[in-house]
Amino acid sequence: MSLSRAVTWPAIALLFAALAACAYPTRNQEVASIDHRQGYRWNNLDQNPLEDTLVVVTASGGGTRATALALSVLKGLHATRLPNGRSLAQEVDVISSVSGGSVTAGYFALEGPRGFDSLEEDFIRQDGMEALLVAGLNPYGLAKLATDGTERIDLLIDYLDEQLFDGATYQTLLDNRKQPYLLLNAADMVEGVPFSFTQRKFDLLCSDLAKFPLATAVAASAAFPVALSPVTLTNHQPCAAIENTPRWPPRWVTVSLDPPDEDPFAQPSIWYDNPQRTSHARTENAYARTGKAPEAEQKQYVHLLDGGIADNLGVFEPYRMLATGDSDPSFLNQMSNGQITKLVFIVVNARSFADSNLDRSRATPGFLDMLMASISAPIDRTTAGTADQLRELLFTAFESLELNEVVENTALIQVDFDAIADRACRRKFQSIATSWTLKDEEIDGLLQVGGALLANDPDFKALLRITGAAAPALPSLREVCGALSF
């Protein structure tokens, strides 16, 4: 390429960027009716054969490190065979995820265990960073970014579609009718709270989740701040679907709010009874009331960023399902009425902890160091409290509620690099970069360590007893750590 052409093409693209009108894509479509019998909802999927046993897997963020670790755990579950001939992976009822974990969760919901090989070959082992940079920085890519309706996040959306999802939507999952029920989690950038891609949430925006592309939902879950642009949803209110709904906002929102027709100073706010429920309900009420609220209170757009900002374990929505009657499904109700008597909950945490020279130097950290710390530190450190809250719920709260059969048949498995006692091995895994490109040796290690950590958890024996599964042949942590070549 001649020098003049090398200069001309980027200049033309930058010119397009300067001249292009600011038109933004509408990513979510308006729904025709709000109907609990339709759409991507729990009851519209076929239930797994182990009807009295709830199996939940959550997968954290962390780029391809998290994608690979979550895949390793699912492979370990697939190696765990049940008396009915199925694998425990096939009995996963709910998979909830954030960021890198969402690539695995979304593809597993779409393809099941038969997709394991293509997830590894077509995504995990690919140089994702180079693909994104090439897509964005070549003249065509730059020109495309300058056109109406294309944003930086579309680089990731297009890449996910090309490598894995091929345009699949939530309607594809609905047509398959198979569990697991998929919960992809992003974060509302303005509210700082988790945003789960569920039809109930989309009802509040008068939107149809069935038409929403899986690649876009995964990308929203993984929209790392600054590097990528948010996925912006449109609140389609006012809309005919809500005008035709007898009661709006729905009861599962309004029950946690102070009654609007009562004197707000007559008694203590309902917030004191349950701050978590009321805070969440106030955000959802703001989505739901946008059609009728004063302009200053409207939420006409929801800007979604990496779910790790609000909940890097992807535990928030499953916790809500276990702890309240505000969600669909409500597993608390199903445990109360005896439908669910056994619970397997697997938390996969790919948290990184990279070595840093900053705390060995007197020099004031620079702008980039501060920017990265302000983004990464909250994502990496908020997970500890969430895991403790879950443990308290499953073993203390449920015991006080006399859900005795459930308590005696609960296995809580934590797949976490922190569980590796050998310091050198632990730090090797924790130092793997948060990136869409990893070295083959790192991937090899990650694809082994998930299964090893699964089997190493003290509650794994309880998992085998509860499900009647045979002990699988999985590598030990000693073997995995000994075989590392990075």
């Binding site: 009661r247 349950n274 499904p329 109700n333 109360s336 509620l401 859900l403």
Partner: protein
Amino acid sequence: MPFAKITVTKPLNRLIYINGGYEQSAGNSSTTTFRVPSGGHVFETLDGDDAVDFRKAFRVRRNERKKSIELDRVDPPEPI
């Protein structure tokens, strides 16, 4: 998060729906002990036309551990 156990004394032998969760009933008013977190709740029953014919809205204070409630008739029944 605090929780409480709820028993329903009226109406008898009806399916209960909690907080507008009409996708699936939470249990039977006569045989299920319901568990709820503290805060506001609405228990309802649906008649043969899928309309609400009994309802009770109530609040569980953070220090309450059990409660017994009677649902009130909704006349005429309200569509969901």
